[in-house]
Structures are given as C-alpha cells and as structure tokens.
C-alpha cells in the first residue's frame, strides 16, 4: 500500500553480481589467465521498505553488507536484478531528467569538485547543468554557505582545502539544485570529530528547513544516533531491523548497566538478588538490571550498601551493533 507522501518505495529489491574468482599468487594468476572462474554473489536480497517525505533514515551495516548497492539502485546507477523501486514517483533506472533534478548523491570517498580550481567554479558548472540562473545560484550558494559556515574557502583551489572544508563544498555542490531526496554514502568518512559534528548539524538543519528526505549510510554511530530516528539494519544483503533506533536498542539490550563504587567490602553473592553480576573488583561492582526493575533496584542498593558513587548507562550502541553483526542475526 503506497501512501501519497511515500517518497521512496522498495519492494523485494534484489541485486546479484557476477564476480571473477582468482587464487592469490602467480599460480592463481596463471590459472585465472587460462580459465576464468566466476561466481554469483547476492549483494542485496529481497529488501523491502518505504520512506515518507521528510524522514531521515539511517542505513546501518558492516562493510559489504549491501548498503551502497541499495543506495545506488535507489538513484538509478545500478539496475536491480529484480524487485520494485520508486523514488519521488519515478523509476530510477531510466534516470529521467526530472528525476535527477529531485535527487542527489553524496559519496564521502569520491568527489565531483574540480581538483585544480576553487569550488566556486564547480558550483557554476553545476548551476549551468541544472539550468539555474546566475542570480538564483548566487542566492542559493550564499544561503547554503551560511548554513555550512564556509565562505572564503569557496574561492581557494580545491586541492588546498582540508578534508572537512572539501566535504562541505561537496555538500554545497550536491545541494545547489535543491533536491528533495538526499542519498548520502558515508558523508563524514575520514573527518575529525569536530567536522563530523558540523556536517551532522548542517544535515539536520537542511532537513528541518526544506523538508527533504534523507537516506544516509555511515560507519560512525554518532551520525545515526544524532540524525536518524529510524534505522534500517542491513547484513548480508538482508534487512534485519526497520524502525526506531531506541526500539532497536531496547530489543537488543533490555538491560541497563549499573556501576557502583562502595565504601565497604562485600561478597559478590550479595548482589545476585538485584540483577546479573558482570564483575566485582576492588569495591567496584558492575550489574546488568532489567529496565523495568531499575528504579526499584537502585533504591534498594542505595539503602542496603554504603555507596560512594553510582552510574547508570546503556550498553554502548557500537558494541551492541557489533554483537549483532558478529552473531549474524537479530532476535
């Protein structure tokens, strides 16, 4: 069922690749030279989801999980082997001009800016290609440059810019035509924490101002936790989770971690009634306590022991996701 405000609709999308198979070393090279072996690899398996206008969705997965392939199928750079895709009302693979004006793709590891020239020249080029007049493009460049907090960098050759400045300029170039659907493939790759935070802030601001739909992949958990209320978790070409990030965390780790620092020596057994004991050393105790019992348990702990310090936190999300990918499935 497609709702009118569904911008991206994907149904049982599948992509299989044929790849060459070569043993390493000289012998392998010779063998490959004589007889090429190939095998089919299923990069994306029957993936289905839909995204509404204005949503910011994070695409999570290990390397080679199929994130980029899916993203490229959504913008029409790869033809699906089977399945149904509709983006902004268009079928991406025919790459009609009207469709291309609606979308943009930013790849953290590839650049479209002209290396030897200032970004402004690349921006002019994009303006011409998208048919944006000089006044209008100047206005848009100023607006975006303000949001991105870049100015004079635009008149310096790209090769002289830092990675963070370059990424900002890339974003500017990719957004000049005011796309309503943004595909971002690791936009913060290689940036320092500060620059990452700036790119994040910009994306969230852009989404708020223009109501654009954003689909983003990233290795950095912070990108996802800050920007995307909804995540798609993909592993080995399949979607394992589609929904709230909080819900994912809840379902993955129903416990909270409580760390106590005591002013007395206590035997570890004394804590077993409160929750699962993780470790107990030098008067420092770590416990896992189910969320719904947390308040009650903490009250009791404080009443029964001489506590110097108490800390409650979630299991770190990177760790959680890591556990899922290692386990290969989600409950």
């Amino acid at each position: 069922m497609i709702f009118p405000d569904t911008v991206i609709d994907v149904d049982r999308l599948t992509k299989t690749y044929r790849v060459a198979d070569k043993d390493p070393g000289l012998v392998g090279t010779f063998k490959h030279f004589l007889a090429r072996k190939t095998c089919d690899i299923c990069a994306v398996k029957e993936v289905s989801f839909s995204i509404k206008a204005g949503e910011m969705v994070g695409f999570l997965g290990a390397n080679g999980a199929g994130k980029t392939t899916t993203l490229k199928m959504l913008c029409g750079l790869i033809c699906p082997t089977s399945g149904y895709v509709k983006v902004a009302g268009f079928s991406p693979k025919s790459r009609q001009s009207e469709f291309l004006r609606q979308i943009t793709l930013v790849m953290g590891q590839k650049q479209q800016l002209i290396w030897d020239l200032p970004p402004l020249d690349s921006l002019k080029l994009n303006a011409a290609v998208y048919g944006i007049g000089p006044r209008e493009s100047r206005y848009r460049i100023n607006e975006l440059a303000d949001m991105l907090e870049i100015g004079e960098e635009l008149t310096r050759p790209v090769r002289k810019l830092s990675l963070g400045q370059r990424m900002k300029a890339e974003l500017l170039a990719s957004l000049l035509h005011r796309p309503s659907v943004l595909f971002l493939d690791e936009p913060t790759l290689g940036l320092d924490v500060n620059a990452q935070a700036k790119v994040r802030a910009f994306l969230s601001e852009y989404n708020r101002r223009t109501g654009a739909t954003v689909l983003l992949t990233s290795h950095y958990m912070a990108d996802i936790t800050v920007l995307c209320p909804r995540v798609l978790l993909i592993d080995q070409g399949k979607i394992f989770h589609d929904g709230q990030l909080d819900a994912l965390v809840e379902s993955l780790s129903p416990n909270r971690q409580v760390r106590l620092e005591l002013n007395q020596d206590v035997s570890p057994e004394a804590f077993e009634a409160y929750g699962e004991l993780k470790d107990c050393e030098n008067r420092v105790v770590r416990l896992l306590i189910p969320r719904h019992q947390l308040t009650e348990a903490v009250t009791k702990l404080l009443a029964n022991f001489d506590v110097i310090d108490l800390e409650v936190n979630d299991q770190p999300i990177d760790e959680l996701i890591g556990t899922i990918f290692r386990a290969g499935k989600v409950k």
Partner: protein
C-alpha cells in the same frame, strides 16, 4: 652485496611481484604491443614507393629491418616519467623514498616484468607478420640474438636514464614532466622507427649520429636484421651515452630528493 639497496633477494622478490602484477594487466599490455604498429605502416609505404627501392635494400631486407625495429621498440619502451608522476600524485612517492631501496630500481623492475609479459604478444605479432610475409622469414644465429638482446638492453637503459633525468627534474617542478613530450619528438623521427637512418640526407645523418636516438632503434634493429652495421662502434657509443647519463641521473636524483624532503614532502 648491495647496490643502492638492491640485493639478489630484493631483486628476485621485486621482479616476481611485478611480474604477477603485470600479468593482471596482460590485456592492457597486449594493446600496448599493438599500439607499436607504426613501423609496419611505414614498411608498407617504403616497400610500395620508388624512394624505398632507391634505399638499396636487397630482397626482404627492408621488411626485416622494420620488423626488427618493431621488436626493439617493444622491449625498449619506457614510461618512468608517467609512473613517477602518478606515484607523486597518489602520495606513494614519500613511502618509497623512506625505503632502503632506490626508487628507480622499483621502476626498472616493473619495466623488465612488463617486457616479460609483453614477450609472447610481440612474438605473436611477429608470427602474424611472417604468415602474411612468408618470404621475409629468417632465423638469426644465436650470436646475433645475443648481440641484439644486449643492444636492446642498452637502448632500454639509455631511454630509462633519459626519462629518469626528467623525473628527477620533477622534484623541483612537477610540471617538468611535460619535457617528456619534447624528448619524444626527436626520438620518433631520428630513432629509425619511421625510416632507416640510411635514408636520411648525409647532413641529417651526421647530426643525428651525435644524439643518442639512432642507437635506440636503428642500431639494434640493424643488428637483428643482419644488415651491414658497425657493431663495435655502436656498442661503444651506447656505453658512452650510459656513462654520460648515469652519473647525471644519480646526482640530480640525490639533489632532487634533498630538495623534496626540505620542502616537507
């Protein structure tokens, strides 16, 4: 024993990895081999015109000359400047400079490995040439083959040193690589690739013999095709050019590296 960081073990592993790498690019190398067809086009012109007959080549000597020129060219192609430029651009140069091995050895190994990969393709093209032109077939003696191999190796060394000289200049100014274009022009016209040096007017022949170019193609090709040639004199001049270029390259390269590291790479 080590020579600028090169020992037997290093040379062996360098050559074998480079050979495996080049095998990966065999399709590309086959095309490079094909792109050296120019001598055959020139042969069809020379053998079809009166000027060609006036050259004084008997029977199939002209065909053999151009086939030999093709083969010599195949095994003396050098692209050091391009490799150097790419390494500098992709930031591979700095780590190379840190290694206890002169970067030029690396390039030399990749050239030799490429020649080994190219060998079957060049033989194939020569085979096709003989099928089309059965009368031109000849089997040079082992002695001639040995001499040709030596002359071609020297020709390769001279080209290699010439380009290394330009590459060394790139330490001062990256745009120096454009000089390679300038080097190619006299190479193309004076090496004997397009016309045997004996077809040149005496004046041009005299002046060109003062440059290294005729000794890059014409001399080895004449040796291989069994034409009348001053073998000893040719070798002496090849060695002379190597003796002139080698110290220049070594010194310039060392100064260049010093300059490069001073700039903060």
């Amino acid at each position: 024993m080590k020579l600028a960081g090169l020992s037997y073990q290093v040379a062996r592993s360098l050559l074998s990895t480079q050979y495996a790498y080049m095998l990966e690019y065999r399709a590309e190398i086959a095309l490079w081999a094909l792109s050296g067809l120019l001598p055959f086009i020139m042969l069809s012109l020379w053998s079809n015109t009166q000027a060609g007959l006036d050259l004084g080549f008997k029977g199939f000597e002209l065909s053999r000359y151009f086939l030999s020129a093709f083969l010599v060219r195949q095994f003396s192609v050098v692209w050091v400047v391009y490799a150097f430029e790419e390494d500098a651009l992709l930031g591979r140069l700095s780590p190379y400079l840190l290694q206890p091995l002169h970067p030029l050895w690396r390039y030399a190994a990749s050239h030799l490995a490429e020649q080994a990969t190219r060998f079957p393709f060049a033989l194939c093209i020569a085979g096709i040439f003989f099928v089309i032109n059965p009368g031109a077939f000849w089997l040079p003696s082992l002695w001639i083959l040995l001499l040709t191999w030596l002359a071609t190796l020297m020709s390769f060394t001279i080209s290699f040193l010439l380009q290394s000289l330009i590459a060394a200049l790139c330490f001062w100014n990256e745009k120096a690589s454009a000089l390679e274009r300038l080097l190619f022009v006299p190479y193309l016209f004076l090496s004997g690739l397009l016309a045997p040096i004996s077809s040149f007017p005496p004046e041009v022949r005299k002046w060109s013999s003062l440059t290294p170019f005729p000794y890059l193609i014409d001399f080895p090709a004449r040796v291989l095709s069994g034409l009348n040639v001053d073998v000893l004199g040719g070798f002496c001049i090849q060695i002379l050019w190597i003796c002139i270029l080698l110290p220049l390259v070594i010194v310039l390269w060392r100064l260049g590296v010093r300059k490069y590291t001073a700039m903060g790479a």
